[in-house]
């Protein structure tokens, strides 16, 4: 009897999982678009479930829907930040022969051979967000971090009225952050010579460490009028330091990226602004490039047999301020990120 129960249990579970299979099955071509054959595009990410990638996938879904109901999309990849697991996910996706693949690479090299295998199998691969530049991917859609830093510099210059000493909080050695810092410094040098970057602090990408180094900075140099952090944890740390020293009114703090903590500090006015890129647009554009690469036109292509695609598209970045968050629609967007099945 127990044996039967155990077997029954196993089979029930299996039936449940298979029923799930059936429910999610893409509909057959003759039911949806009789004239167009089904196409499947796979987005492969690391840390699947991360809010940023959910935004990317939302953009991809909308882009696919704009082309027609014969386009299927799926989100694949490990929940862990594990480049080898992500490479395996790409291999598995290639085995089901999709029309195109969009990849955000967990690191710069591990996925190279898997991406190359996909291209060899005739599947166009577009990189987005985190690039694997040597993988052979046809194009990259992401954020220009130099421009990202310049956006912060422009806002800083406006808020300070073109005068004052400022500092940068960053993790030296992290390429994206180095680029942001360089963009920030160069823009100020060229366009707002009255503002001097007097200090570059290493806050190790940590809120508590950022608070410590910013407290030391503000105490030793009361002339500091602005702090720019190149990552998401620097601005909350700088704000905590300024609050402790009762200097919130005197210091303009501009951060990078957003989180619920940053949103609250923007609303309270402790942080003047944060520079954000647009993952939705990045996902949208990356899909469009994958579609273009899978559908060659008469335009000569740099990567035959794939259709022509530009090698790089940047999604742009902008300053998000507390004032902008007073708009209910804008706030709702940041408070209610898209859910992915």
């Amino acid at each position: 009897m127990k044996r039967k129960m155990a077997l029954g249990l196993m089979l029930t579970v299996l039936a449940m999982s298979l029923a799930g299979c059936g429910a999610k099955a893409p509909e057959a071509a003759d039911q949806t678009g009789a004239e167009k054959s089904e196409e499947l595009y796979s987005m492969v990410v690391f840390t699947k479930g991360a809010e940023y990638f959910n935004w990317c996938y939302a953009g991809m879904k909308d882009a696919a829907a704009s082309i027609g109901s014969h386009i299927q999309v799926e989100l694949q990849g490990p929940a862990e930040w594990d480049a080898s697991l992500e490479a395996r996910a790409v291999d598995q996706v290639v085995a089901k022969n999709p029309t195109g693949i969009l990849v955000a690479s967990a690191d710069e090299t591990t996925l190279n051979s898997s991406i190359q295998k996909a291209l060899d199998a005739g599947i166009p691969v577009i990189g987005f967000d985190s690039d694997a530049a040597d993988s052979g991917r046809l194009a990259y859609v992401g954020t220009d971090n130099y421009d990202f830093g310049a956006t912060a510099a422009r806002s800083m210059a406006e808020m300070l009225g073109g005068e004052g000493e400022v500092a940068v909080c960053m993790v030296p050695g992290a390429i994206a952050q180095e680029e942001r810092a360089e963009g920030f410094k160069n823009w100020l040098e060229e366009n707002a010579p009255g503002i001097k970057v007097v200090s570059e602090l290493n806050d190790e990408g940590d809120v508590a460490k950022s608070e410590t180094v910013c407290t030391a900075l503000l105490q030793s140099n009361p002339n500091i009028k602005g702090i720019f952090s190149t990552h998401g944890y620097g601005a909350p740390g700088a704000a905590a330091a300024a609050r402790t020293l009762n200097m919130l009114e005197n210091v303009v703090i501009i951060g990078s990226d957003y989180s619920s903590a940053v949103i609250e500090l923007l609303q309270s006015g402790d942080i003047e602004g944060t520079v954000v890129d647009d993952p939705y647009l990045i996902g949208y554009e990356a899909f469009m490039l994958a579609y273009a690469a899978a559908h060659p036109t008469e335009i000569p292509s740099a990567n035959p047999p794939f259709g022509h695609v530009p090698p790089v598209i940047y999604g742009g970045s902008q300053l998000l301020t507390g004032e902008m968050l007073q708009d209910e629609a804008v706030l709702a967007k940041y408070q209610n990120p898209p859910a992915v099945n």
């Binding site: 127990k2 196993m10 579970v13 862990e80 080898s84 291999d91 085995a95 996925l111």
Partner: protein, 323 residues
Amino acid sequence: MNKRKGILSFGRINFHYLVLIVMIFIVTAAMTVYSPYFLTVNNLQVLIDTFIMEAVMALGMTMVIISGGIDLTVAGILPFSSIILALLLMREVPFGIAAVLVLLAAAAIGCLTNLLRRSLNLHPMVVTMAIAAVIKGVDLTITGGSAVSGLPESFTRLGAVRILGMPVSWIVYIILAAVFLYFSKNNRWFLQVFFVGGNEDAAKLSGIKVEALYRNVYVISAVLAAVAGILTAITYSSASYSYGTNADLRVITTVAIGGTSLTHGGSGSIAGTLLGTLFMAIIYNAFVMSGISTYYQDVVTGVFLIAAVLLSEGIKVLKERKS
């Protein structure tokens, strides 16, 4: 057929194995009907590649769990080995020497695990969790969080080597699996692991060197995790602290689904682990193939884990009643 054992075994086939084989058959059949790409040479290769590192580590983990312990260090040793190997290769150490050094380092970690377990008299879960955390921290510190790449070409070429049409990782696994399968039935030491796991005190009284046996079990598990790390570096021509994240849980799940008992030592088998490995590899592949959200993957593997434990415990209860 032996009538007395009839309720638990069909002829000489263990009932747990039979359930697994049937499940593997059902999932394979269902996926073949569902996707034209499932039963292709290409996908079957990918299916094996996808789970080969866990497969290697599951062999050692089976011995650890049969001995009554558990080893969470494997998820740290895998990336650690890939990183150390890569750094040695970049300093122009020949591959053979670098690989041996990496395996020795892993063996040392295995010894350390057992030393701490014994001297502090702590549960292996606590000790191995702590050591895994330390190793992961070291991995991050050495690499600064970025992947190690630009390895010598003589090494990166290994990733493309095919022997009888199979990549190096398959060959290594086939040899290891064959050795473990054979010895688990015929080798005196392997049989002692079952004995010690089942009843440590009785084993001590019968003159088995229990502490040396525990040490060897953890060394084997650590060395196999290092083998998996070396194979990962060969496969991806890179090394990163990110490799092997949560691999410990996947490996333990595989071993448990194969019928090795997590609740009491002394019961389990390498053959069961091989079936469990095949089952997990197929399930992981089926999820990507079917396009079902991989979020459900954890739910389903969790449910299967519970089912497998219930099944093996149920069989044990039935066996005890019979005898």
